[in-house]
Symmetry: C2
Subunit: 494 residues, 2 copies
């Protein structure tokens, strides 16, 4: 675990990305011409304003740098192919000319996963935005990867169906991005995470080969090819199309909340609910800080809010609500009825904009980890304690929002003081280092659903141990020239 | 799809395996000595009787050859390592000396997946048979890969838990084999298939490197390493340990059956049940031939039996039974009550021994495929029609036993006449060819849960298309010398 010892680790963006920025090579004009020939000149962007848009995703550190007037690496050009054949032709050209490729969907990632740290060409798939088939009998949908999650959900709603996948980024995230980052939605306890939904995909490999996996409810014909691309974060290819499980729209929805004495008690109640085998759509537990912040006036000071949403087949919803009440009612301080759940449903995707914080010299970020039930209470204590020791931190609070029979996630928000860029970056990197190291030492996984991107690569060796070697061999097998989204996911370069 | 056109395909075992048998090289004495040094001479078997045991798994064609006195390729030696360190040392030696490795668990595979077609060393993991941890709080178990499924289940039962995984081979299959072949159990509709259970694993790569994946309820830290080995059938490494989700033992179990007019009607009822989101533990639908054969006196001639088992949380069991009755009751010819389900629960793992059939010159095998609901009725018709056209076939019957919201599997049994080995092999290969080709053309997947082994490799190009290239690159990345279970899974050698 030496690799996670904080001492000599880089504590600013420039140092952390130096090795990648050094690899930048000028993009030759002939490559741009070739790309223009494939997608049309109007779909190749090279103006400064456009390049600045694609220089960042939703990573708070990138926003911080922009706020302080610091530079971010720009891509050389951005191409917007209009279909899989164009994606294939683009990747063929870029691979032949050894140009880095940065696949781009909604740009809603929060870990720098699309930052063009070695320059190169951003391939934005947003023009691949069609729903290709809604199959009501087989309960699946096939759509192109550039469609926004919200548009896919709207198309399904018109057909009386739902994907059941509602990440907070639903309005801005693309389907391909959900797959590439191994997304989890707010209703995951019932509907599963993206890996539980994916039935088949089409992906363009580096070099341009188009691969489609066979659509089937289940298959045993070797390792699951589509699974290789789940969580691949643009480092193995570009997802262009996917088929996903869908569900009839819920007949009924109920919500019910409890006030519990402390966070660990709340975790224990969730564990007991999950153990029944019932699957409420949403289970959320907030620590006292987040309860006070998000449910003002709805729960008592110093207590934790435990919130359930049940939806689906009507009689099952009734059973779930009643069984959960049997478990939580006697152990909770108070039953809070449906109001906190309604409040959450209404406000769940509203987040305070980063500029508000930055204008007050505050550094804010969230990080989400997960562990089994036997470890998660310890994880909560260890991580928050360790984070709160970092000089400059103001608060670290947590909620649990994705539960399983085996354990749950912790979604931790921290606020720190960073009066200038250097101080802000220092406190940012130090808090992350404290959090990730504590998480891994306490037996958690360093990431539940935001992915690795650029920022979490430094903890990949500690997360995976020798298994990282397997991932690196996979990378080399599919992207031997190392051109796909360089610097992301696979850990620091030796 | 030219590759699936029957014309020039090999129609006997000798032809189908010639390319692999040609690769056989004598095993040098120094390698055997080195192996003996690692595992102890008593754990290296080289007697003819032992080698004959390991020359076959439970593939009916292998049994047929033995029955007719024909040869099967023998391994050079069999080693039985006593722990992961020994597995690692054995793989290091064999890789260095370029000796084929055939990982071996329970030997219950039915597609020749452990046949040593190029000779080499069988590595039997049955001595790795310990349960390492049962974690009741986190509802997971960690066990070594050589433990039999039945012993693992017994250990869990003593702790008030269940894995919920009951393949027909439960008494003979090993945990590692279940993972390597992507197993499905009879109660999969509730508990999921092996891929839904696997939380973490330890695997020894070719060359001896030991890789362990991190135990977590869920993680988004790149492509899922453990998933690479699910369905890898011994071609990428040897699984030595695994952690799996478990469940509290069911509070209650109910069973309920219906007689339906025809198979397609029965499929439609299952589809409607699955659409509710409820998950009966077992849903089985038998066509008229199998209904008559397996439920003599319990259902009317010419009708199909539709059988449900519900188990788990008591109130949920009641709800499921009642909701299923609301759907099936009005559409079925008759409600048959609990008796057929009880009969099935009692007799489900009894199969007529192959020798009985072979003594009557009958060739019998089963094959299981899957498709989405919109395709499965057509799949059933097309496959059985096409199979019944093969000269020498006597019957082809089917049941559905693993259902999903998206579709279901078909488990097809065929009986044919094969008076001598040549005739038996001919009819065997021709029926399989007809079945697999029809399945793939009708949009199914050629395998639901038995795996690929040796026999199904010939249809891998048609199953996967360009995606097979991804699998082959994965193979080369992890096993560059091509020594792990040669001839299996990855399709015919060019």
């Amino acid at each position: 675990m030496d690799e996670t010892a904080g001492g000599s680790r880089p504590v600013d963006f420039e140092t952390a990305t130096a090795v990648h920025r050094k690899r930048r090579r000028p993009l030759r004009a002939e490559v741009v011409s070739a790309l223009e020939k494939v997608v049309g000149p109007e779909h190749v962007l090279s103006g400064r304003a456009a390049l600045e848009v694609y220089a960042r995703d939703s990573w708070p550190l990138a926003a911080l740098r922009v706020h302080h007037g610091a530079e971010l690496p720009l891509p050389d050009v951005v191409v917007l192919p209009g279909g899989v054949a164009e994606v294939s032709a683009v990747l063929e050209i870029l691979y032949e000319h050894e140009v880095p490729v940065i696949p781009y969907g909604g740009g809603s990632g929060v870990l720098g996963g699309t930052l063009p740290v070695s320059g190169g060409v951003v391939v934005d798939v947003k023009r691949l935005d069609r729903v290709l088939e809604i199959n009501d009998e087989g309960l699946y949908v096939t759509a192109q990867a550039g469609i926004l999650a919200v548009d896919l959900e709207r198309a399904l709603a018109r057909a009386g169906l739902t994907l059941g996948h509602f990440p907070q980024s639903v309005d801005v995230a693309s389907l391909g991005g959900l797959i590439a980052t191994r997304s989890a939605g707010q209703f995951s306890t019932k509907y599963g995470n993206i890996e539980d939904m994916l039935l088949a995909l089409e992906v363009v490999l580096p070099g341009g080969k188009v691969v489609r996996t066979r659509l089937a409810p289940r298959s045993s014909t070797g390792p699951d090819v589509k699974n290789l691309f789940l969580g691949s974060e643009g480092t193995l290819g570009i997802v262009t199309e996917a088929s996903l499980r869908v569900h009839p729209r819920p007949e009924k929805r109920e919500t019910q909340s409890y006030e519990v004495a402390d966070f660990v008690k709340g975790l224990e109640l969730i564990r007991r609910v999950m153990r029944t085998g019932l699957r409420p759509a949403v289970i959320r537990l907030y620590d006292p800080i987040e309860t006070a912040h998000s449910f003002k006036g709805l729960a008592s000071q110093g207590r934790c809010l435990l919130l359930f949403v049940f939806e689906g087949f009507g009689r099952l919803v009734d059973l779930e609500a009643s069984a959960v009440d049997d478990i939580c009612g006697p152990e909770a301080e108070r039953q809070l009825g449906p109001e906190p759940g309604r409040h959450w449903l209404e406000h769940r995707n509203i987040v305070r904009a980063l500029p508000e914080f930055m204008n007050q010299n505050l550094v804010v970020d969230t990080l989400e980890v997960a562990a089994t039930w036997d470890r998660v209470a310890d994880l909560y204590r260890t991580m928050t304690e360790r984070m709160l020791k970092v000089k400059g931190i103001i608060s670290a609070s947590a909620h649990s929002s994705h539960s399983y029979t085996q354990g749950t996630n912790l979604y931790i928000t921290f606020v720190a003081l960073g009066p200038d860029l250097a101080a802000a970056e220092r406190v940012y990197y130090e808090i992350w280092e404290a959090a990730m190291t504590a998480c891994l030492e306490a037996g958690g996984t360093m990431c539940h659903h935001h992915g690795v991107g650029l920022h979490r690569t430094r903890w990949m060796p500690a997360e995976h141990g020798e298994a990282l070697e397997v991932l690196r061999r996979l990378k080399e097998a599919l992207d031997p020239k190392g051109l796909m989204n360089p610097g992301k996911l696979f850990g620091e370069v030796d």
